[in-house]
């Protein structure tokens, strides 16, 4: 059973399927204004909590807003900001990891001790504290998540740079007159990036989960902006009568996170430098 699953993971099919799903989601979030049948934030109390119909493909919520349109627009927020978190944390981690790995010495010590400090606090608690100080809002949550996340990238990259630095070809490059900048550009970054892409794909799922859970707690995206986590939060009072209000956005989060994780897994199974 596990062997079969591993086989699927390794195969090209898995990567292609995951990639297709993500492409569709990307298209949805780009073309949401044209695809959505209704205005996602237009309140219409006379149509509240309606079952699916032609006008409202997935029914309406407690304020009579179209669920389908809200989910489409929610993809924009969830995917867009998760991507922002991912890219910012990645660049910050890449920069700090390379500096700290290559330069070493007290610079390395300082940066890594800051990282240790951040890692010592549970990430959820850190973001909660951050929001507690600066107030609830999307900006604060995103900033908090970036500050939590870069450490993991920086650690991994630092480790890779440390081992790369001792390679003979780096010494050979130094001897052939390459400057530190050229060594970074030609030898270190190209060797770090592929593993980073794999790690990043896995972390993307993490970013979406955390952003949504923050919004679920009412700390991230503020109503009436449609966001999947926030939609679950708004629907939770109707869990007995209209469970679909929570189920649809929940399924979307699950779909995205699972896709990202499976993609990351299968990429890491396949990726790797050809070595002897």
């Amino acid at each position: 059973m596990i062997a079969i699953f591993r086989g699927i993971l390794k195969s090209q099919k898995m990567i292609v399927t995951c990639f297709l799903i993500l492409c569709i989601l990307l298209l949805i979030s780009i073309f949401a204004p044209w695809l959505a049948p209704n205005d996602p934030i237009a309140i219409n109390l006379t149509h509240k909590l309606q079952p699916p119909s032609l006008d409202y493909p997935l029914g309406t919520d407690h304020l009579g807003r179209c669920m389908f349109s809200r989910i489409l627009f929610g993809a924009r927020i969830s995917l867009g900001f998760a991507f922002l978190i991912f890219i910012s944390a990645l660049s910050m981690g890449l920069l700090i990891g390379i500096i700290s790995g290559y330069i070493g010495g007290w610079v390395d010590q300082l940066l890594m001790r800051i990282g240790d400090g951040l890692m010592a606090i549970p990430s959820l608690l850190f973001v909660l504290g951050f929001v507690g100080i600066w107030g609830a809002g999307l900006k604060q949550v995103i900033l908090g998540l970036i500050l939590v996340q870069w450490v993991y990238y920086a650690r991994v990259i630092r480790g890779m740079v440390l081992s790369l630095k001792e390679q003979n070809y780096i010494t050979a490059a130094k001897i052939s007159g390459s400057s530190t900048w050229i060594i970074m550009k030609k030898h270190i970054i190209p060797n770090v990036l592929p593993s980073l892409a794999v790690m990043g794909t896995l972390e993307m799922g993490w970013a979406i989960m955390n952003l949504s859970s923050m919004s679920f707690l009412g700390l991230g995206v503020q109503p009436p902006t449609p966001e999947w986590g926030a939609m679950i939060h708004e629907g939770k009072s109707y869990i007995r009568t209209n469970p679909t209000l929570m189920i649809y956005p929940g399924l979307m989060i699950m779909l995205v996170v699972v896709t990202f994780n499976l993609l990351g897994e299968s990429l890491s199974e396949r990726f790797g430098v050809k070595r002897r």
Binding site: A172, I175, S176, G177, K186, V273, K274, R275, R276
Partner: protein, 278 residues
């Protein structure tokens, strides 16, 4: 350090180096003396063979000469310039004339670069060449070391160890250096490839007017290419010879032991003086 033009290409003056491991509050001082008061010179156009057992400090000495491992004491003068205590521009220029070929050809090249990019790296660092000129120079170098234009776009894993060592040699001679440090460059190759590479190296030496520092534990290989021989043992340069005969008539116990390790052409001719071998 500038001034009079020196006679020797490379002068190593009383170089000592020890690797320190800092004590952590208590415990023994674990610093290890790797090189101890080493002095020698390499004249232009000659090859100095450096023989020694594993751990004798041969490769460290190579790194010191290449300018990547600063010794605690002593000086390394290259054409009269101190390679550790001169300004950046001079150091950058010295780099050009001092190149290396490592033992393990696979780890000496970036696995993500094609042969063309590997060889053009030093060329790009010194001097501006257009793309066409660069490609032509790389092709010439490839042909010079016995490979062909077809190999331009190949990646390291597509080459055999011997071919890859040729690429390393091409990279080393790309800048027309004056001194090339061959750090066990043929030791991980089979006998046939070894002799081919040695042949190539001595051809290149004549063509480009190169000097070599040939670091090896293989006495036969050292003799086939070197003009002079130095024996390194436990960080000390114990003996120096200007010819093979001197090496074979030496009375030094360590040299004797090294000498006994050379296999005779036929087992019948083998003499066991120490009685420990076999």
């Amino acid at each position: 350090m500038q001034g009079v033009k020196p006679l020797s290409l490379l002068q190593v003056k009383q170089v000592s180096l020890s690797f320190n491991s800092k004590k952590f509050f208590i415990g023994k001082d674990l610093s290890k003396k790797v090189l101890n008061d080493i002095s020698f010179t390499i004249e232009e156009g000659t090859c100095l063979g450096l023989i020694g057992t594993s751990g004798a400090g041969k490769s460290t000495l190579g790194r010191v000469i290449l300018g990547i491992q600063r010794p605690q004491q002593g000086q390394v003068l290259f054409q009269g310039y101190d390679i550790y205590n001169s300004d950046k521009a001079t150091q950058h220029n010295i780099r050009r004339d001092l190149q290396v070929v490592f033992q393990d050809s696979y780890s000496a090249v970036n696995p993500r670069m094609t042969a063309e990019r590997i060889i053009s790296e030093p060329l790009e660092n010194y001097g501006k060449l257009t793309k066409g000129e660069l490609r032509r120079t790389v092709c010439e170098l490839l042909e010079r070391v016995g490979l062909s234009e077809k190999d331009l776009k190949k990646y390291p894993h597509q080459f055999s160890g011997g071919q890859l060592q040729r690429i390393n040699i091409a990279r080393a001679i790309a800048l027309k250096p004056k001194l090339v440090v061959l750090d066990e460059s043929v030791s991980s190759l089979d006998m046939v490839t070894q002799s081919l590479i040695l042949e190539l190296l001595s051809e290149l030496k004549d063509d480009f007017g190169l000097s070599y520092l040939f670091i090896t534990h293989d006495i036969k290989a050292a003799f086939s290419i070197s003009d002079k021989i130095g024996v390194l043992e436990k960080g000390e340069l114990i003996e120096r010879y200007d010819s093979k005969d001197q090496f074979f008539s030496s009375k030094h116990p360590i040299v004797k032991r090294l000498r006994d390790c050379i296999l005779a052409e036929h087992p019948r001719f083998r003499t066991l003086t120490t009685g420990k071998l076999g």
